[in-house]
Amino acid sequence: MLKLPIYLDNNATTPLDPRVLEAMMPYLTEVFGNAASRNHPFGWAAEEAVDYAREQIASLINCDPKEIIFTSGATESDNLGIKGVFEMYAQKGNHIITATTEHKAVLDTCKHIEKLGGRVTYLPVNAEGLISLEELEAAMTPETILVTIMYGNNETGTIQPIREIAAIAHKHGALFMTDGTQAVGKIPVDVIADGIDLMAFTAHKMYGPKGVGALYVRRKNPRVKVTAQMDGGGHERGMRSGTLNVPGIVGLGKACELARLEMAADTARLSAMRDRLEKELLTLEESYVNGSVERRLPHVANISFKYVEGEGLMMGVKDLAVSSGSACTSASLEPSYVLKALGLSDDLAHSSLRFGLSRFTTDEQIDYAINHVKEAVTKLREMSPLWEMFKEGIDLNSIEWAEH
């Protein structure tokens, strides 16, 4: 029997894989030591578990285990990476380049940098959500210390040309950081081949627990350093103080190991399901994929349904847990800034749904989702005066709408 509602919001968070929980359990109970306790077996057992997790993570992203700095999650990692580089490399310059479609953890950190006197360039994206390499190159200055561009976008799944971006940053003597939150564990990420100097990621987007993440910080070619943003006991090579979240770290490690072993099979299965979902929903007239179709995370689909309103649509798909490009549950009526950056009009941004599939998504759930969305969109269109006008061939832009 199909259990409702169906969870298809895996870009927000994923369920914990039972195998991850199993790995964590001993560290929530009998193995409770502080990984920084150097003088007794309780501490040694905890440290050993942390070291093992570092190795599991390192093998997933092809780095040295020493290059992993544990944090509370991707938001903290983004903060530490950007603010830490800004402080550490203040002698060299104060200019940072990012993109308008970044997560708020990056954008708001960059706004903070601007308040501190830094200069930030926000690169626009094209209709597919990709930045222009020419514009990046043109934005580079001798004062540019950091280029930070996300790997895969959380709303559309669009994957940026990471290697090319890294090469441009390095050519101009800047570091390259990426927010790998949605990509790590989903697609192959290789910090050496990709030329990544810093990378933020988190456990709970790849079937691990919430509250634990990491910042990859390159140790050679070049040796990158960040100024700590949390003062204290000098953990994590002085870059992030605070007692390590041992069970969380064990969970992140296990999640990375599972991702490494199962990524290829998961990707094949998820992209086939995603493509089927998308193909079926696109049989509805006036429905559009948002973001790049070619360069995209395998488990994400973001689709707009013209002439239906987003919040009404969300109410109509109540059997699905999905995200909408509409934020009008608040009074603001502000549609997604990511979709707006792609050039979508407000109404098209409002009427978008984001589907995020997971390792645990089934074909039966996708079948249900297809029918459920089709029914909701069809019903709302039958009720929509805009759809009627469209069908009658009336140009909606020709109508003088009431001041509102």
């Binding site: 919040e311 009008c328 608040s330 805009l386 109508i399 709408w401 001041e403």
Partner: protein, 138 residues
Amino acid sequence: MAYSDKVIDHYSNPRNVGTLDKSKKNVGTGLVGAPECGDVMRLQIEVDETTNTITDAKFKTFGCGSAIASSSLATEWLKGKTVDEALAIDNMEIVEELALPPVKIHCSVLAEDAIKSAINDYRVKNGMPELEMAKSHH
């Protein structure tokens, strides 16, 4: 956000969805809102000119559940009322009936505007002077 049972009922089983022939002299049409604001309501009334009574009402709405419910409820209320009685419908009655939260009051205002706009259209078509819109939203 939690919707009231009445909003859910009107959303799931909307009353009087449809289109009346706007070329008819005794049909008044009100189209209010704007697509970029996320709400467009079209409300139509058919009036028996001898009794000045609304014999039929239809709506189509692009908007959230509360907007759909507000217009669905409005059409239910309009049927059988005289035009003057219809003019007296206040948005706060819709708010109360549907238990709309403060952020959704604008949906009821839009429904009231749609009623008045439909009546005005009917009046103008039948040689009566246009009424001042008592309320305007925003």
